[in-house]
């Protein structure tokens, strides 16, 4: 068994890989936290319009310290900035963009994702104060729902599973998964491996995955720069 921790991609590298597939001219929602990293690696020459649930489309980067305007924040309640072309709208319109199928892509983090496209990313089910935010809305409506995630948990358990054991966010939503080890599509057959790290055999990848891996043609090498 290969030492997965020694070869796996960093979160920034996973975000970089997902960013390579951003389509020019697309409207994209990045989930709070880790997925927000994707914007940093947007390939040059492509114009992406980012959506944030609280009602802003086409916003700019975080402002310098001391120049925050607390009326201008993103869904993670972090300050953002205006740029030419920014649009504001109220919350019902914002979620109409999500549910109505107007976004091209949503990139989300997760606790678990299953071979049938189910996703569990809002609750660890361990009690505490339940809080869902926009997670259950976001997993519906965008033309593609993709997940970026470490392939395994900190305890070494698979995050790609046959069926989610944690409370579900949505059923049959996810179409693609970018992990620290591989890129996989979710198809009617289950997980299909599109790319994997060269240092990792398919058998090794299967050992750290909680569902059967399928092939559909050749597996391309997953190669990311140091970022």
């Amino acid at each position: 068994m290969i030492d997965v921790a020694g070869i796996k991609l960093s979160n920034a590298q996973i975000a970089w890989r997902a960013a390579q597939d951003l389509q020019d001219g697309s409207y994209v929602n990045l989930g709070i936290g880790f997925p927000e990293l994707v914007a940093q690696f947007q390939p040059a020459g492509r114009h992406i319009t980012y959506h944030t649930e609280n009602g802003v489309l086409g916003f700019g980067k975080a402002p310098p310290e001391g120049e925050e305007d607390w009326d201008l924040i993103n869904a993670g309640k972090k300050p953002i900035t205006l740029k030419p072309g920014t649009a504001f709208f109220h919350h019902a319109d914002s979620f109409a963009m999500i549910r109505g199928g107007h976004l091209d892509l949503a990139i989300l983090g997760t606790y678990q994702v299953a071979e049938n496209g189910d996703i569990a990313n809002w609750s660890t089910g361990r009690g505490g104060v339940p809080a869902v935010g926009g997670a259950m809305d976001l997993v519906h409506g965008a033309k593609a729902i993709v997940v970026i995630t470490d392939h395994i948990t900190k305890k070494g358990e698979p995050k790609l599973v046959k069926r989610c054991s944690l409370p579900l966010t949505g059923v049959g939503c996810v179409t693609r998964v970018y992990t620290s080890l591989a890129v996989l599509d979710i198809t009617p057959r289950g997980f299909v491996v599109r790319e994997k790290l060269l240092a990792l055999s398919l058998e090794d990848l299967q050992l750290v995955t909680g569902a059967e891996l399928h092939l559909d043609g050749a597996i391309a090498p997953l190669v990311c720069p140091e970022v």
């Binding site: 649930e53 609280n54 009602g55 802003v56 925050e68 305007d69 607390w70 009326d71 201008l72 924040i73 309640k77 205006l82 504001f88 709208f89 109220h90 919350h91 019902a92 914002s94 979620f95 999500i98 549910r99 189910d118 104060v129 339940p130 809080a131 869902v132 935010g133 926009g134 997670a135 259950m136 809305d137 519906h140 409506g141 409370p167 579900l168 966010t169 949505g170 059923v171």
Partner: protein, 235 residues
Amino acid sequence: MDKTLSKLSEAVASIKDGMTVMIGGFGGSGAPIELIHALIDQGSKGLTVINNNAGNGHVGIAAMIEQGMIEKMVCSFPRSADPVAFTEAYKAGKIQLEVIPQGTLAERIRAGGAGIPAFFTPASYGTELAEGKITEEFEGKMYVRENWLKADLALIKAERADLHGNLTYRMAARNFSPLMAMAADKTFAQVRRVVALGSIDPEQIVTAGIFIDGIVEVPDPAQEEALNRAGAVYP
């Protein structure tokens, strides 16, 4: 017709124990801090409060919780940078919580204001938040029925108002406010500036005055985030 009120206290005077109050804002953005603090001064108890969150720090909605005014919180995300007020009350069993997906919360409020008693949404289908709810298939996909959400009163924050209560908002601060203004029996707005009729380009009006019952000018409104960074506590 002049909907201007001279004092914040007039905007909250009709609130009674046990009422349902919608409060605008997403986190601190758009939170009507001065109106909330006027409500704390007024002192109604047993309130059901509808807001995206459940307070942050020790001002605004968090301060209402600390004063024991809220019986039930209806929100999507009762966590924040400093959620101690809600978390302690919740763990002590002193406050009820209804968690609603954010887009469903927004649409339920919109439906309440638009006279639509129920609608179907894909959000929450197949999850524990849909347990016990009616579901139906449309064009091969499953949806959950959700009911409208209404309130006795809404407190919101806007940027400018004319004397008829036509409102503009500032940046992302509008969030839930245009929806809540429609969904409450009475809506009161604190605004940075009250201007003469005709001073707002009709093309720029986001909330039409028909939804507004009273406006109070608060020329330099506090920002929840700034208050929290300064360690503010109300009262």
